[in-house]
């Protein structure tokens, strides 16, 4: 049931990644605190797999995705891609490394420059990193358009002339232009209609098969993640609370937050809906600039107990390939007692 990761090559290795945005306040604009958007996140992504990253809005998913690509100057931690540490790399060296890692964005409208043609958009990475010129460049653009299923006739059109799904294809084509190994998909389907979401997800899967891509798939749509991801990481307030292979996670969520999250997803079946028992969380996500003491989830956790308010739980591998950061699972026997 659990994919044994041992035989697979680790492509991306993130250790204790922190991304804090400073807050300045007071008379002298002193540094008074941080928005701890990502606060000590570790995970691995294996070559050719899809890691889903889920969590509520504002929990730091996008920040994490961007930090992994070093679009931010990270606060702490290491990021290795193909074994190479990029966490402290200079901008120029990083630029050379960019072709291997690319990104697809949430809002297909916002991620395309409204004033560039499709060819211009897809051609931009080619201009930056390859010497392709003239017809070679054009051919490559056509090739990419074919790959994502865009008609070659569209090359001279502007983004606003496309539908949402088509725009997302453009974004994907752009990400593919440089033969990347690793693509961060930051909620690539969130802005799309249900009927279109499926088209894009299928395309991503096709491309993964074809080019052997590795995805970090960020989403808050648990059902979509379940469909596309091999393994899933659940984030809450800047921390990863649970990492597990897909089947295990959906069948048997360990962390109370994961459980709540899963049960909150409305089931598109009235019969199931009426029978399912659900965990309704109360309250809101605390602010990342002022996280609660102890476990971040303690303010909303239905199974909270004393230690949660004092100590931040460490992530533990409770089963092979399955990491949970929860006091319930810290000492299996104690957890058992509480849960019982």
């Amino acid at each position: 049931m659990f994919d044994a990761p041992a035989d697979r090559k680790t492509l991306v290795e993130v250790r204790d990644l922190k991304m804090h945005f400073p807050i300045y306040a007071g008379l002298l604009r002193r540094h008074v605190g941080d928005v701890k958007a990502v606060d000590g996140v570790s995970f691995d992504i294996f070559d050719g797999e899809t890691l889903g990253l889920v969590g509520e809005s504002g929990c730091g998913k996008s920040t994490c995705g961007r930090a992994v690509l070093r679009l931010y100057d990270i606060t702490a931690g290491t990021i290795r891609i193909e074994g190479e540490d990029i966490s402290t790399m200079g901008q120029e060296t990083l630029r050379k490394k960019r072709p291997t890692m690319q990104m697809v964005f949430q809002d297909p409208q916002a991620s395309l420059n409204p004033r560039m043609t499709l060819a211009g958009i897809i051609g931009e990475p080619l201009d930056e990193h390859t010497g392709l010129k003239g017809s070679a460049r054009r051919d490559r653009i056509y090739e990419l358009m074919d790959a994502v299923g865009l008609n070659r006739d569209f090359a001279n059109r502007y983004p606003h002339e496309f539908s949402g799904g088509q725009r997302q294809r453009i974004g994907i084509a752009r990400a593919l232009a440089l033969h990347p190994k690793f693509i961060v998909c930051d909620e690539p389907i969130a802005a799309l209609d249900v009927s279109i979401q499926a088209q894009v997800v299928n395309l991503l899967e096709d491309l993964q098969d074809k080019f052997g891509l590795t995805y970090l798939f960020i989403s808050h749509d648990l059902s979509m993640v379940r469909h596309i991801a091999d393994r899933v990481a659940v984030m809450y307030l800047g921390k990863v609370v649970e990492v597990a292979a897909r089947e295990g996670l959906y069948a048997d969520p360990k962390h109370p937050y994961t459980q709540a999250l899963l049960s909150a997803v409305p089931e598109p079946d009235p019969v199931l809906h009426d029978t399912a028992e659900r965990v309704i969380l109360t309250g809101d996500v605390p602010s990342p600039s002022n996280p609660p003491q102890g476990c971040n989830f303690c303010t909303r956790c239905p199974q909270v107990f004393d230690i949660c308010r004092l100590k931040d739980p460490q992530s533990r591998e409770i089963e092979p390939g399955r990491h949970v950061a929860c006091h319930l699972h810290n000492e299996p026997q104690a957890a058992g007692e509480t849960a019982a």
Partner: protein, 354 residues
């Protein structure tokens, strides 16, 4: 908020010093001299003596330092003395006597004030003398303009592209583009020369102490206020309109309508309140202009306020006066910039300054 204000005030100090230096240097470098306007019959040697008597012999940095001391140390003393002894607040304040006047029969120790080269008298005294006119005329114009501009802007936006809006746009544009030296003379020709309704020359000595004198004051203010208000109205109503348009299509307006509020409440309470936020800051930022006077209008109607004082000082190369006035404007601008920002914070609960 308090923190923010203090911080802004602290930042303002170097800004103002820099401005003072800029103004000083600019004026120092300017050609021409204070005795240039004297008749040609005065021979050059005498001019040279006159120039020396004005203190032009000293090096620049010394004069800058002197001016700084005068502006920041001596003039405030005079002001405090005035507050505690002469002003209407005097009875409740303890008398002070910080300032030691120079001039007649004094000892060696005295505080030199900033003296105008034209008047040979303290610039600040003249400024105080000029402020009432400016406040009366420019201030009234500003008020009138606000009172007219806001409804006009609101209605124009509410009925965008209606005939009212189009006519409003036309009138405001004309108002914006007709220079006051023309509109001023035009109203004089119509209302003073032809109709004989209003005086064409403002009486700065006029004191309001009864109904008749108040009516006269209104009469003599009417034309300059008209001319100025036309311009200011044009600008504010444009801002108002734009701001209303920005707000009219927002979701909360629909919410208000869905609650069954009448159009009046929707527009005048919900939309207007939001639209006023940027407009209020525009208005606040315009207030230094009141003190700066409306140079052209003051000149056309001989209101002889601060603006007129400045332009005459520039013409006469009266550097101490120009320096002082310009610097006062700078201080006002800095202050009202701050006021505008604070107002913004007060009006818009989303803004938090810390």
């Amino acid at each position: 908020m308090l923190n923010y204000t203090i911080r802004r005030l602290i930042i303002a100090v170097p800004t103002l010093l820099f401005i003072a230096l800029t103004i000083f240097l600019l004026l120092e470098l300017a050609p021409g001299d204070p005795v240039a306007n004297q008749p040609l019959t005065i021979p050059p040697e005498v001019r040279e003596l006159m120039r020396k008597a004005l203190g032009l012999g000293e090096p620049m940095h010394i004069r800058f330092w002197k001016w700084l001391v005068q502006f920041f140390w001596i003039e405030p003393q005079v002001f405090i003395d005035w507050l505690t002894t002469t002003s209407s607040l005097a009875p409740i304040l303890p008398d002070t006597d910080f300032f030691i006047a120079c001039g007649n029969n004094t000892a060696a120790e005295c505080d030199p004030r900033i003296l105008s080269w034209q008047f040979r008298s303290p610039v600040m005294d003249i400024v105080l003398q000029r402020i009432p006119q400016t406040l009366w005329v420019v201030g009234t114009a500003y008020l009138v303009a606000i009172v007219i501009a806001i409804p006009v802007g609101v209605y124009s936006a509410y009925r965008q592209y209606s005939w009212f809006d189009n006519a409003g746009t036309f009138v405001t544009m004309v108002g914006f583009s007709v220079p006051p030296f023309f509109s001023g003379v035009l109203v004089i020709v119509i209302f003073s020369v032809q109709l004989n309704w209003f005086p064409s020359i403002y009486d700065t000595m006029h004191e309001v102490n009864n109904w008749d004198s108040f009516m006269f004051q209104i009469k003599q203010m009417t034309m300059p206020v008209m001319v100025l208000a036309l311009q200011i109205t044009s600008q504010i109503s444009r801002f108002m309109r734009a701001s209303m348009l920005d707000n009219l299509n927002l979701d909360y307006v629909r919410t208000a309508r869905a609650k069954g509020m009448t159009e009046n409440v929707v527009i005048l309470a919900h939309v207007l309140r939001n639209s006023m936020i940027p407009v209020v800051t525009v208005i606040a930022l315009g207030i230094p202009q009141i003190f700066g006077g409306a140079i052209i209008t003051e000149q056309v109607f001989k209101v002889n306020g601060i603006g007129e004082m400045l332009i005459r000082a520039i013409e006469a190369n009266d550097i101490p006066t120009v320096q002082t006035l310009t610097f006062i404007f700078a201080v006002l601008i800095v202050i009202f910039n701050l006021v505008a920002d604070i107002l913004y914070g007060i009006l818009d609960p989303r803004i938090r300054y810390d």
